[in-house]
């Protein structure tokens, strides 16, 4: 089922002695380590056992932990995601794989009306320590129903936490943090990142939840991204650096909670902001980021915040149309240049 993934630059390794592994391997390693560490961690999902997962994240885990802890489910997203909620209520720590975020719509009542509500609605009597792992992303020619980026829906919901790792190291440390957290956490993966490589510490690292990261420090303009777009932003920043333009990259890392302060502090310094996001423009993740900057850094902005997002269409299968509908490095570069020109930036 796994389709060829579009080329995305890999994480920088400069001056880092950690082993270089893929984003896929990093997720696998985090699952394996947490399952070894805590018996109550179980995996549920379609084809995660014998088939080793549609994107092979769970390869080998069935052999190591057996069919009770690596549980293949029927095609019944609402059923098995809801079952994970109930198991969590009794003290298990289920990690559910939803093959792609598009299929999470079948389970969204359980995720939003149940997982996100049970702790608060019942007055804090039972936490829901569960993780939902699911990849989003277009660009694989999977057509309209299999190429969506709907993370903004989940990021809008109190009671959920939504993490979006961009690098293999973050994938591992954020998945570890998600598994140990006592709330329902949606870990957003990305089809086009699974094969990307980067240095990942072998020892345990638990990422802080709710913090954005400055992945490139700069002074002239801020680019905000997450997941795949944070990787592209970093790459573009490096290209501009070569041309003497100092771009700061904010990797949101956590979509909920949202680290508004880190975003605004960066823009207070640079005075200019461009947001790169894979989802549709209107009411997308970037809308909140732009609104946040426009309010929080109002007095510091030299130009309007710009958003680079997907064209608002059901994504066509045809490569010729898919390519132009999705945001990419070129579009980001173009808009950054427009921003620099608009503010009379000297090169």
């Amino acid at each position: 089922m796994s389709a060829p993934t579009k080329k995305v630059p890999s994480a920088p390794t400069s001056g880092n002695t950690d082993p270089i592994i893929t984003y896929r391997q990093a997720l696998h390693d985090a699952l394996q380590a947490e399952m070894q560490r805590d018996e109550s961690v179980i995996l549920l999902g379609e084809e995660i056992g014998i088939f080793e997962g549609s994107y092979k994240i769970t390869a080998g885990l069935l052999d190591e932990f057996g069919p009770e802890r690596v549980r293949d489910t029927p095609i019944a997203e609402e059923g098995f995601v809801g079952a994970a909620i109930g198991a969590a209520m009794l003290g298990m720590r289920p990690v559910v794989e939803i093959m792609t975020i598009n299929f999470s719509l079948l389970a969204i009542d359980q995720i939003v009306n149940h997982a996100a509500k049970i702790y608060g609605m019942f007055g804090g009597q039972t936490p829901i320590p569960m993780v939902i792992r699911t990849p989003g992303g277009g660009g694989q020619q999977l057509a309209a129903t299999h190429s969506q980026n709907l993370e903004v829906w989940y990021a809008h919901v109190p009671g959920l936490k939504v993490l979006a790792p961009a690098t293999p190291a973050d994938a591992k440390s954020m998945l570890t943090a998600a598994i140990r957290d006592n709330d329902p956490v949606l870990l957003l993966e990305n089809l086009s990142l699974y094969n990307t490589k980067g240095p990942v510490p072998e020892h345990e690292v638990v990422a802080p939840i709710g913090k954005a990261q400055i992945t490139v420090h700069g002074t002239d303009l801020t680019v905000v991204g997450y997941s795949r777009s944070a990787v592209i932003a970093r790459d573009v920043a490096e290209r501009f650096a070569a041309k003497g333009v100092s771009i700061e990259v904010v990797d949101l890392s956590s979509l909920r909670p949202l680290d508004r302060e880190t975003i605004c502090r960066s823009v207070m310094k640079t005075g200019k902001a461009v947001i790169l996001e894979d989802d549709w423009l209107t009411y997308g993740i970037g809308a909140e980021i732009a609104a946040t900057i426009a309010e929080g850094a109002f007095d510091y902005l030299d130009a309007p915040v710009r958003r680079v997002a997907a064209a608002e269409v059901p994504l066509p299968y045809a490569k010729s149309l898919e390519r132009i509908a999705l945001p990419d490095a070129d579009a980001l570069i173009r808009v950054i240049n427009e921003q620099l020109d608009a503010t009379g930036f000297k090169r």
């Binding site: 489910t73 079952a83 198991a87 209520m89 019942f122 006592n182 939840i209």
Partner: protein, 405 residues
């Protein structure tokens, strides 16, 4: 129309196997579900000078009296809830168990303290029968801090972790997958056996038509989960009949798609319900076989307290009144010489007292303080969690002056 009951100052579930309790409760871990206070089987002190058939063994008699006490307490509680709704003490949606008392009591009698139960939003009676204090249940309906869910859930969302009452749910069918997952969790706890734990998942007849029912029963079947799905068939969704909504209106047969055994019983005699539920639970415990139990009952009033049920004909309404299980059971017990009229009257009077106390308790309970608004959004607090009130700036004034936390 209302039954009346004698009983302790708090409602008590009747156990079919009181002897099993301590054994069963041994298994319990992490504080949850230690034997709830007041769950030992009750001994009613015979009212002085009442004539009675002394041939009935005492334990058996106590069981029947216990059922009646429960039923009348639920009846009184629900009548009072309806009244409190009209007095605006209760808001939102409010669904009553009027007419379902014998069903509720019989079913709950089959549960052990170590078992778990999930229900829909029509769950006041189940909560009372599980041993929750009527005052704390009423306080939840009032939205007060002493409510069983801290006032955050209301009528549809009662919860008591200690008593393993894992919630009333308002989304039709929403409770079924989590209940199934709770049963899954039990399979990691221990082996099947007479003392092992099980899950009961209650739902209404109309709920068998939703996808979650299908997906969940299938999971329970292929994973051999210790769970009993209980369909409370009161004949209606809101106004839609079972026949109009279900391709197979004999709902207990719907286990066929999963090879899950189905059984249907009449709900008006709590003993019958108790026995059927106990056998289903036995299969779940000892054989890890999920079951589907359909209980035929009546919804005496509208779907919720604001529904006048005009869609019912006068005849239907009268027929329903005639079928009211509470007075019927009272007459049966008196006719069988289990209780005298005086005793039933005393039991009924006691129920009224309990419910009046519950209202007084609820009324005196404070509303949750504004300062608690964000208290239960997350179990693990993390950085940057939004705690903004409507109209607040997204960042506190002068935030940009301080150094980053």
């Amino acid at each position: 129309m209302a039954g009346r009951t004698e009983g302790p100052a708090r409602s008590r579930p009747v156990s079919g196997k009181p002897t099993k309790r301590s054994a069963a409760s041994k298994q319990v871990r992490d504080g949850e579900g230690k034997v709830p206070a007041g769950t030992e089987s009750t001994k009613a002190t015979p009212a002085k000078g009442a004539k009675r058939d002394t041939t009935k063994p005492d334990a058996d008699r106590d069981r029947l009296v216990g059922y009646f006490r429960e039923m009348t307490l639920i009846r009184e509680f629900e009548l009072k809830a309806a009244e409190m709704y009209t007095r605006a003490k209760i808001g939102g949606y409010c669904h009553l168990n009027l007419g379902e008392e014998s069903t509720v009591v019989g079913l709950m009698a089959a549960l052990r303290p170590t078992d778990y139960i999930y229900t829909n939003y029509r769950e006041h009676g189940y909560a009372l029968a599980r041993g929750m204090e009527p005052g704390r249940v009423m306080a939840e309906l009032f939205g007060r801090s002493d409510g069983v869910s801290g006032g955050r859930g209301g009528s549809m969302h009662l919860f008591d972790a200690k008593r393993r009452f894992l919630g009333g749910y308002g989304i039709v069918g929403g409770q079924i997958p989590p209940a199934t997952g709770a049963a899954l969790a039990l399979t990691y706890r221990g082996e099947p056996g007479p003392d092992s734990e099980a899950v009961v998942c209650q739902m209404g007849d109309g709920t068998t038509n939703i996808g979650a029912f299908h997906e969940s029963l299938n999971l329970a079947a292929i994973w051999n989960l210790p769970i009993v799905y209980v369909v409370i068939n009161n004949g209606l969704g809101m106004a839609t009949t079972v026949e109009a909504a279900a391709g197979e209106p004999l709902l207990y047969k719907r286990g066929c798609s999963y090879r899950i055994k189905g059984v249907r019983v009449e709900g008006d005699d709590p003993s019958v319900v108790h026995e059927a539920a106990e056998e289903m639970l036995r299969r779940a415990r000892e054989e890890r076989k999920p079951g589907l139990l359909e209980i035929m009952t009546h919804r005496l009033r509208g779907h919720s307290v604001v529904d006048p049920a005009r869609y019912r004909s006068r005849e239907e309404a009268e027929k329903l009144r005639a079928e009211d299980p509470v007075p019927a059971y009272r007459h049966k017990l008196v006719a069988d010489g289990v209780l005298t009229d005086e005793e039933t009257a005393a039991i009924e009077a006691e129920s009224i007292r309990i419910v009046d106390e519950a209202v007084a308790f609820a009324d005196s309970s404070p509303e949750p303080p504004a300062s608690d608004l964000f208290k239960y959004t997350y179990a693990s607090p993390v950085a940057n969690t939004s705690m903004l009130m409507p109209g607040d700036p997204i960042l506190p004034a002068g935030w940009d002056k301080e150094v980053s936390r």
